[in-house]
């Protein structure tokens, strides 16, 4: 049953990534150089919609709190984020979109995947020495959420009700998606774009 769900959910995720342009490196790069933020608006709206419905579903008893999976906070999360961001800007791909792009016929994405497999292997080899630096030691309680979610196995960073906070933050994400301008660099056309009128 879970394999069946993996097939359905995975295929849906891949198809949506393709349709929102996330697997297109031009779209990703124009988001990151701030000349066309449509993909950012898409992602921010998705986080907001997901958050409101997930926490709303939990409050109504429709979504099992135990399905949540919160990752640990440690200094390496920030350092790893910096590295990922650098590579994302260079290539225009992140792990999921790179795989989707390669599958849709982009040859450069195959090289991204090959580099990724080597990078992951390098981390596997370096893991004991990275662990020894303390970069992986939990900070601020490790696996924590911003508020305290009723019934969750994770601690809250604050005592605020985590489900209500999740809905409020979700609404904030939705508002930001609508308020964010499409181009943050006035006067600069999206890099490499054909001359299409602004929406």
């Amino acid at each position: 049953m879970t394999i069946f769900l993996a097939l359905i959910l995975g295929a849906a995720f891949g198809a949506v990534l393709d349709r929102i342009g996330a697997t297109n490196p031009n779209v990703a790069i124009r988001m990151l150089n701030l000349t066309n933020l449509n993909l950012a608006k898409t992602i921010i709206l998705a986080i907001g919609v997901g958050s409101v419905l997930m926490f709303g579903g939990q409050m109504l008893g429709l979504v099992d709190v135990a399905h949540m999976s919160v990752k640990a906070a440690y200094a390496g999360v920030f350092v790893g984020g910096l590295l990922l961001g650098t590579g994302w800007a260079i290539a225009g791909y992140c792990p999921g979109t790179g795989v989707g792009a390669a599958a849709s016929g982009r040859k450069d994405a195959l090289f991204f995947i090959a580099g990724g497999l080597l990078g992951a292997a390098a981390y596997m080899v370096a893991y004991p020495s990275i662990k020894a630096t303390g970069l992986l030691n939990a900070i601020a309680g490790g696996k924590v959420t911003l508020g305290t979610i009723p019934g969750a196995k994770y601690e809250g960073l604050t005592a605020l009700p985590g489900d209500v906070l999740g809905i409020v933050l979700g609404l904030v994400f939705i508002a930001v998606a609508f308020l964010l301008p499409t181009n943050l660099r006035a006067g600069k056309a999206p890099a490499g774009a054909q001359a299409t009128p602004a929406e």
């Binding site: 769900l5 995975g10 995720f13 929102i20 998705a46 790893g80 650098t86 994302w88 990078g119």
Partner: protein, 182 residues
């Protein structure tokens, strides 16, 4: 044709919601480690071994958390690995249905071409280096854009905010510096 962001955003949000409702939050980058493990174990069968309690590995990373990764290397037909394979199929079918990607664009995307020219070798080299940095970073962070940013922020995870801050702090200046031409 790219979907209107309002429709695309709701669709993407619903996929993330369905995943956490039915199984667990979406994540991708761990599967690069699992595929490395599968390849490594095919070359050297000593890499992942069965124990009385489960699986372990001569590699400390695969062996961590009671051999959680080692177990998935030994059994590739697990939810997370199949999810990523299905994701590739979904993207491929969707791209095909909207007419595919043209030949020149497949090798060198237009934004790269505008800034760095037509050389496919140059683009492939950059994509390879980018991939190396992205996956090394994702493993150090313990997740990527899917697991940390999307799933993490959606669940109000502190780690999701730390990751997102780091990722954009590096990605935006790098992209502005590298891709100047319009």
């Amino acid at each position: 044709m790219t979907l209107d962001w309002r429709i695309g955003g709701v669709a993407l949000g619903l996929v993330f919601l369905l995943a956490v409702t039915l199984v667990k939050p979406i994540g991708v980058s761990t599967q690069f480690v699992i595929l490395d493990g599968i390849i490594g174990d095919a070359v050297n069968a000593e890499l992942v071994t069965k124990t009385e309690e489960g699986y372990t590995s001569t590699n400390a990373y695969l062996a961590k958390s009671n051999g959680k990764y080692a177990k998935n290397v030994a059994n590739p037909l697990n939810y997370s690995f199949v999810f990523v394979v299905a994701m590739a199929i979904g993207a491929a079918v969707s791209a095909k249905l909207r007419g595919g990607i043209d030949k020149a664009e497949r090798a060198v995307p237009e934004v790269w071409r505008a800034n760095f020219g037509d050389s496919a070798a140059k683009r492939y080299g950059a994509a390879f280096i980018g991939g190396f940095i992205v996956l090394f970073g994702a493993r150090l962070a313990g997740g990527c854009t899917s697991g940390h940013m999307m799933s993490g922020l959606m669940q109000t995870a502190l780690s999701g905010y730390i990751f997102t801050l780091g990722a954009f702090a590096a990605a935006i200046p790098t992209a502005i510096y590298m891709y100047r031409k319009g």
